[in-house]
Symmetry: C2
Subunit: 276 residues, 2 copies
């Protein structure tokens, strides 16, 4: 089954599409070994969340959209897995909120930044930052702290999906308003964020875009209301509660079911055969 053959109303649509894209990302040299492992970690948390967008995550997406619309210089930070998983969605969000896109990797190499930038341009991005690498995030070593001076360094609002905790904290220390997308509510990055969206990237990015389009129509008053109505600690607590109260051993085979393991396994996941 190719990606276009997966019906959008399939209950496990996000999971199947995600698996497809991440494997293609490996073929294209965009996704790393570490990225595949991280993909698996994400699958488990999304399974525990019920593979759905919680109301609290939807409120976060709405607040994020409002924050981006009200920003002076918003930047979407894109790493290898974000580029592999949601290239079209990222480009659409950037257009909807008039944000820059910047490739920003844990270990910056020009080669990989270029490959990811090419991939994003193939998916419609006009300008992709990250190659100038003439700025820095203070407090991190060089390879991890390199950014563009007129990109993330100059941004007032940054969207950092799938970000590591050290960088999320360093960006926070720079005074950025941070929007984090992450399925583990216990991670340091969502806990550092001004607006943590605890949701699968594949669902969250288009959701922020949809809210941005609606809020652009509704105007600045509605945008400020969306921000005021959002409570980050409450959203994290609700995501955690959803994970704790999730049902195990459900009748439908979960993302992590039949495959999860003492550490790993051979990919013997019956549900995902269609995606291979």
């Amino acid at each position: 089954m190719t990606e276009t053959e997966i019906p959008e109303d399939h209950p496990r649509y996000a999971s199947l599409v995600t698996r497809h894209r991440i494997e293609a990302g490996v073929e294209n040299g965009i996704t790393s070994k570490q990225g595949l492992i991280a993909q698996g970690r994400g699958e488990s948390f999304d399974y525990l969340l019920g593979e759905r967008t919680l109301p609290s995550a939807d409120a976060a997406a709405r607040a994020a959209a409002a924050t981006l619309l009200l920003a002076d210089h918003p930047v979407l930070s894109v790493n290898g897995n974000v580029a592999a998983l949601a290239p079209d969605e990222t480009v659409e969000l950037a257009e909807a909120v008039d944000a820059d896109i910047e490739v920003n990797l844990f270990n910056h190499t020009d080669e990989r930044v270029r490959r990811i930038a090419d991939h994003l341009r193939d998916h419609g991005a006009e300008e992709v930052k990250g190659l100038a690498a003439d700025g820095e995030i203070p407090g991190l070593d060089h390879a991890r702290g390199t950014v563009d001076a007129d990109g993330i360094e100059a941004a007032d609002v940054v969207v950092v999906p799938l970000e590591d905790g050290d960088r999320a904290e360093a960006l926070d220390a720079m005074g950025k308003t941070e929007i984090v997308i992450d399925v583990n509510p216990g991670s340091r990055s969502p806990r550092t964020a001004d607006i943590p969206i605890v949701d699968n990237l594949i669902r969250a990015v288009p959701n922020v875009t949809a809210h941005a389009r609606a809020l652009a129509e509704a105007g600045p008053g509605a945008q400020r209301d969306a921000i005021d109505a959002f409570d980050a600690d409450d959203a994290l607590a609700k995501a955690e509660a959803a994970i704790r109260e999730g049902s195990f051993g459900a009748e439908t085979e979960p993302a992590g079911g039949g495959v999860s393991d003492g550490a790993a396994q051979n990919g013997e996941n019956p549900v995902d055969e269609s995606a291979r």
Copy 2:
């Protein structure tokens, strides 16, 4: 940091060693892309379990050891990730309980079976089954159901670590006594097992071996008591409760923390830098 430099009393020893070995498994062509994703899924569940062996998992390991000692023809089924993650531990367990080792893959190819068998022999295995491929597990298609006639097909007790749900059920339907090692108590395989060990493979296999050595000394009466004392449903319920009651946002960075994601990420996990 190489594996031997990781102190065994490091609180995240199993996690760091696991990461090391699985990446080496990729270099050796033993671990697949799917195996890396499965590794990540396992990391999340192990993090939620608290990266420790629960008392109920220890009781399961003890019952498993007793079952293996009392078996007529026990077989340890080994897939690519098991071979990558616990080759020495698997060989030691086979010796302790006088079991066969059989390479058994979700998608059987002679090439991969041979590579994995070589790897196990490099780690001290004398005989490794799986290449004869002259038997079958009824109810599965050919590539997934192929086993050795004098191995898994003839076994009365099978240890299937990191097994997929379909195969666990098919083995169960053959009347095998099944011992499953899996960190997700909601997976079909542990729920199908006679003895589900909900624990990280890296901790579970040596733990079964240690119990086997003690129970071999203690004799058949103690072995039968260990089996009688174990309740599979209760062990699954306790593992699930441990996951639900686990603490999020703890002060120490979790395995899934700072990296887990809407689906995946670039490997930007500060805790794992030492393992790269």
